[in-house]
Amino acid sequence: MPRINSPEELERFRQDTISRRDPSKPCISVCAGAGCLASGAGEVITAFRAEIEKQGLRTEVNTKGTGCPGFCERGPVVVIYPEEICYLQVKAEDVPEIVSRTIKEKKVVDRLLYVDPNTGERATHESEIPFYKNQERIIIGNNIKIDPKSIEDYLAIGGYSALAKVLFQMTSEQVLSEIKKSNLRGRGGGGFPAGRKWEGSRNAPDPIKYVIVNADEGDPGAFMDRALLEGNPHSILEGLMIGAFTIGSHEGYIYVRQEYPLAVENATLAIKQAQAYGLLGRNILGSGFDFTVAVHQGAGAFVCGESTALMTALEGRAGEPRPKYVRSNIVGLWGRPSVLNNVETWANVPLIINNGADWFTQFGTERSKGTKIFSLVGKITNTGLVEVPMGITLKEIIYNIGGGIPGGKKFKAVQTGGPSGGCIPEKLLELEVGYDELTKAGSMMGSGGMIVMDEDTCMVDVARYFLNFLIDESCGKCTPCREGIRQLLKILTRITEGKGSEGDIELLEELSEVAVDASLCALGKSAPNPFLSTLKYFRDEYEAHIREKRCPALSCKGLIAYHIDPEKCQACTICLKQCPAGAVIGGKNRIHVIDQEKCTKCGTCFEVCPSRFSAVEKISGRPVPAPIPQEERMIRKSKNK
């Protein structure tokens, strides 16, 4: 591939690329993000290619694996252009039918369309599906349009035009002022204004400066950065280069966790392609600006998402945070000024440059501008990535986009911000999503994890779960975090096991205060949040566990028992056969009884008991009724009918 040496050549190349593409030629786009690949997208792509070959359509149809559009719940996702017909949960077996019916006959395969669970109506196009319709997809919307392994695809949708604009039409002051005006805040969790961070580095006298992409996404249930880096790696590179130009840096790093092999692969390939095209390296587009970037794989530590720990790890040492009294944009990587921004923050930069700060600030609230991608997971109908304007309410996200709670269950809380965040209860569902609003509610924006919980979730156990995550992920350097988390987890575990005692809540609060006030880095300072926020909104659950030895959500194994109601049991023997512990006593025509000594509380009997009987119940906070006497266990014939 010849090098592109000027912005004019870049435009010419772009127009060439676009003109070689016939917009009316059918293109089958299959999501090749990690989620869809796991549910078989690789086989679907292979099947499409084979089928198109078989039906003699090779020159008439394109097939491509694209970035993740976000509707992971219904993957593998297939979109057929130019009509934008959207098929969900496509399997390799469906492929011949799609090719024959949709590509050849231009007809829609109804059974693969989205069906609204409430109205039963089908949606043919992506834009008609409520999950997508209610979003504002300025960033992630491009994923399904491009093959992340193709720089030409990125150029065809206007890629690298922001870079050319910055290099040839703007001064670095103008770029900085545009970013500051946009009030873009860090999407990784802290919400620090990107412009101010850049400005600090820009003004630092050191001639050597660095720019870094933080792709060490580690919050349980969060995967928006993965989708962006896997699905549109050039957009991250372009943003990074604009940042580098602004602050005067010539060297950048993409720190990506090694658990994201596809992101590593696509980012590395994007760098190679950009170099080959003269979009990276020396004298970029003939502008005189030099910039190189390297991918660094994290070794698997959650704490390395913290800026100073990430930089320590990049330097080749164990990833431990260091004191931040002087900010890392002044003294960062190897002691040099370093701008570290999250993947999503960098992805916003080219958009702001191309469309202007005024366009960007039309989305969002007064203090939180633009959009935010959340990974909506947990007890929610539509699991996936959603991009919404800041200021949207939690209720809109969960019900209009997420489709509510499955199985007719009741919503209980939504956890935002990962292990550093907190749980927000139902009464705050009208809360507008924004950095300050979420913090005020005792949670935080974090990187965008959003875990929905229903009535069956025990909030004490949720706090225990996150502390259990953190106990392995604290680096162990400072006492309040290492020892504080150790004791917090011990006490929470005790409470969920039914061994809590008076004074536990107060001791947890005292430990939390010390961890918040005295820990070295944000991991320790925010570690008690899962406990503090659940205590704030669900104190009654803590008290029930401690005082009544009762788990209100009927979830903590140590506090519940399973019992078969002898009035309801029809002696069908299903639970008896399926109990893995052999704890169900009974037989044909003999009412079943659970041997409480043998029961491991796995819940199998509860799940398999036919709903028309619903004989198995969970009991908490009161004694299990004594088993009915042997002689009364025979079922009378009349009852059997």
Binding site: P323, I471, C475, G476, K477, E513, A518
Partner: protein
């Protein structure tokens, strides 16, 4: 070096630019407790015992004095209800691991820390890192290091290096605030089972 005037516990203190609050306080004869600090070593900020209140233009924050640098018009309070509460808790958390360490007991007396507050897990080490950092920074041998992370973090001698370097050195032993018990123990263990 520019001279900086700051206030520590109501007294005026003189310090030079680049000094930490801990150094300035010690120069002024004000004592701040530390467990991971050592004059020959780079500031670490691990034990958090030296936490103090630092007030700059009316806003107060908690900082660890071994790392925080002096600045003009800084007002430092080395004792307050909050600071004492934090130090007491830190001591109690450490005493669960090293209940008989003299240094911890002496501080426990001063801050009213109860060594039985938390269930004992006698691992002795309080993770001050003095041995690890001394060996790396002063002796430049790296014979002892930290392994693992979080609550599983522990010090460990590298047998190959320790077998060569440690017998004639052992300078880390007296540095250990929990009386070198664990250093000796880990060393022996590492040497007999390389």
């Amino acid at each position: 070096m520019n001279e900086i005037i700051l206030q520590i516990d109501g007294k005026e203190a003189k310090a030079s630019e680049g000094m930490t609050v801990l150094e300035a306080a010690r120069d002024a004869g004000i004592s701040i407790p530390t467990l991971c600090h050592h004059e020959k070593l780079e500031p670490y900020g691990g034990c958090r015992m030296c936490i103090v209140e630092a007030e700059v233009s009316g806003s107060t924050q908690l900082v660890v004095s071994c790392v925080y640098l002096v600045e003009k018009n800084l007002i430092v309070r080395t004792r307050s209800g909050k600071v004492d509460r934090i130090r007491k808790m830190i001591l109690e958390l450490m005493l669960a691991h090293a209940p008989d360490a003299f240094e911890l007991q002496a501080l426990a007396g001063e801050y009213g820390a109860d060594k039985n507050r938390f269930e004992k897990e006698a691992s002795f080490c309080i993770h001050c890192g003095l041995c690890v950092r001394y060996c790396a920074e002063v002796k430049k041998k790296n014979a002892v290091g930290f392994v693992d992370r979080g609550t599983r973090r522990e010090i460990c001698f590298v047998p190959e290096i320790a077998a060569k370097e440690c017998w004639n050195c052992k300078e880390c032993f007296p540095l250990c605030p929990t009386e070198a018990l664990q250093a000796a123990f880990v060393l022996t263990k590492a040497l007999i089972s390389p």
